[in-house]
Amino acid sequence: MPPAGAAARPRVGVLALQGDFARHVAALEALGVAAAHVALPRDLEGLEAIVLPGGESTTMLRLMAANGLRRPLEAFVRERAVLGTCAGVILLGTEAEGLPAPPLGALDVSVERNAYGRQIDSFSAPIDIPAVGGTFPGVFIRAPRLRRVAPSVEVIARRAGENGSGEPVGVRSGRVVGLCFHPELTCDLRFHSWFLTAVAGLALPAARAAAAAGPPRAETA
């Protein structure tokens, strides 16, 4: 039995074929929405929005096909809000090299996979995201790069600081949002909160939204 009041909580899915979906689930739950794992087509029922997590984009594309999720997901991201982080932005784009199947094509961007190199080239860098009030911690793990952003697609996040300043690392096209970095690996909930309210149009419990708008909680590794 769901606890009293649970019916009022909006349900947001997280693609759970492979990757750091548990971190997105934790962020969503902390903001007061009901997070649901999506591994089969039936899991999409009743969801207001979906998150495509970090992980291996080639693995996720293969498992999407193997689990009959390809077409249902294509349809879902045309109608509902979607956030893709790292591998997720590769899945949402129109083009990337070396994929076993075409990406979903919901964002008109070309993405270069593992564009900074191997794991020893992974890095952290500050990001400027005006929509969440300024600087945001960027965690880049074997990260992709946006090589082409169509004029119709809005750049919402750029690298700040000395290195690579101004490089676009986050984009939005209507209800579709893609990031090259991992807000879910930080304890800073501002980006998830913005996605749920401003992009997906969901109402968060007031206390949770206020907590997300305030200074980030202490970081743990």
């Binding site: 759970a16 074929l17 492979q18 990757g19 750091d20 979906f21 548990a22 971190r23 591994a39 089969l40 970090g54 992980g55 291996e56 080639t58 693995t59 293969r62 498992l63 193997a66 689990n67 790292c86 591998a87 070396g98 076993p100 996979r113 593992n114 190199g117 191997r118 794991q119 020893i120 992974s122 890095f123 952290s124 860098a125 500050p126 965690v139 793990i141 074997r142 600081g161 000395e162 290195n163 991992h182 690996l185 743990t220 590794a221």
Partner: protein, 304 residues
């Protein structure tokens, strides 16, 4: 200046590998099969554990040319093993650009007292454990991922189950203790006090916790996930299959088993799906019972 956050980046890659399968491979072609089957990463090594067990001798880090071939063949992360305590092998693997180093009891230990100081490395490490104390000692040395040791190369999951249950049970026990009992427990575990406090509070390891050692079937993978593993390593369970078959048949059998284990990890709580993917699979490894393995040949007893 950007604040360097080496440990978060290391654990970050471990997070990306969750819910996936990491497969031991010995050739670029096998790496291709693993990637095609949906592996989240591959472990490049010259001999999978079952062969090391059969052939004996000192097992060392793989030849760099093999690791480079495999890195060139796939786009998923590539891991490689170094011997316990062999800092120089680890430095070489880091220079080769491997994405994760497994400081592994499957290879012959280079140091019977000390493990590698893993903090100075930029590449993340995974280490094996048999219980919570061992897991926290490795994390204290800088490991960014923990896996059970199990008993590699046996096709027998019993030791991996024992080790996973030991870790999970000890974490639960910590959660029930009062603050003033934690130092005594840290002493018993032989684990760093700060990490013991952290685990008591959070109820989980501070890094991802994977299963390894003897996983040979989709059902084994599901069992380990149900016991608390966040991903599984499959060593000999795939590329020891079909050795008596013609190459194309062998490839097909190995691919089927690899795909089935990947699916089992995604749907580990769905018995109907597990039944479907377990049907008509190639016969798993014959395997070894623990009674048949003399103490000195038990790989899990290496390291402390």
């Amino acid at each position: 200046m950007n604040q360097p956050e080496p440990f978060r980046l290391k654990v970050g890659l471990a997070e990306m590998l969750k819910g996936g399968v990491i497969m031991d491979v010995m050739t670029a072609d096998q790496a291709g099969i693993a990637e095609e089957a949906g592996a989240a990463a591959v472990m490049a090594l010259e001999r999978i554990p079952a062969r090391i067990r059969r052939e004996g001798g000192v097992a060392r880090m793989s030849d760099p040319s093999l690791i480079k071939e495999i890195e060139a063949a796939v786009s998923i992360p590539v891991m490689a093993k170094c011997r316990i305590g062999h800092t120089a092998e680890a430095q070489i693997l880091e220079a080769l650009g491997v994405d994760f180093i497994d400081e592994s009891e499957v290879l012959t230990p280079a140091d019977e007292e000390n493990h590698i100081d893993k903090h100075p490395f930029k590449v993340p490490f995974v280490c094996g454990c048999r219980d919570l104390g061992e897991a926290l000692r490795r994390i204290g040395e800088g490991a960014a991922m923990i896996r059970t040791k199990g008993e590699a190369g046996t096709g027998n999951v019993v030791e991996a189950v024992r080790h996973m249950r030991a870790v999970v049970r000890a974490i639960r026990t910590l959660g029930a203790l009062a603050d003033d009992e934690l130092m005594s427990e840290a002493k018993k575990l032989g684990a760093p006090f700060e990490l013991v406090k952290e685990v008591a509070k959070s109820g989980k390891l501070p890094v991802p916790n994977f299963a390894a050692g003897g996983i040979a079937t989709p059902a084994d993978a599901s069992l380990m996930m149900q016991l608390g593993a966040e991903s599984v390593f499959v060593g000999s369970g795939i590329f020891e299959l079909g050795l008596d078959l013609r190459p194309e048949e062998q490839r097909r059998e190995q691919l089927r088993m690899a795909e089935a284990i990947v699916k089992a990890v995604t749907h580990y709580r769905e018995p109907a799906i597990l039944a479907q993917i377990s049907e008509g699979l190639p016969r798993g490894m014959k395997g070894l019972s623990m009674e048949g393995i003399p103490d000195e040949q038990q790989l899990a007893k290496r390291g402390w």
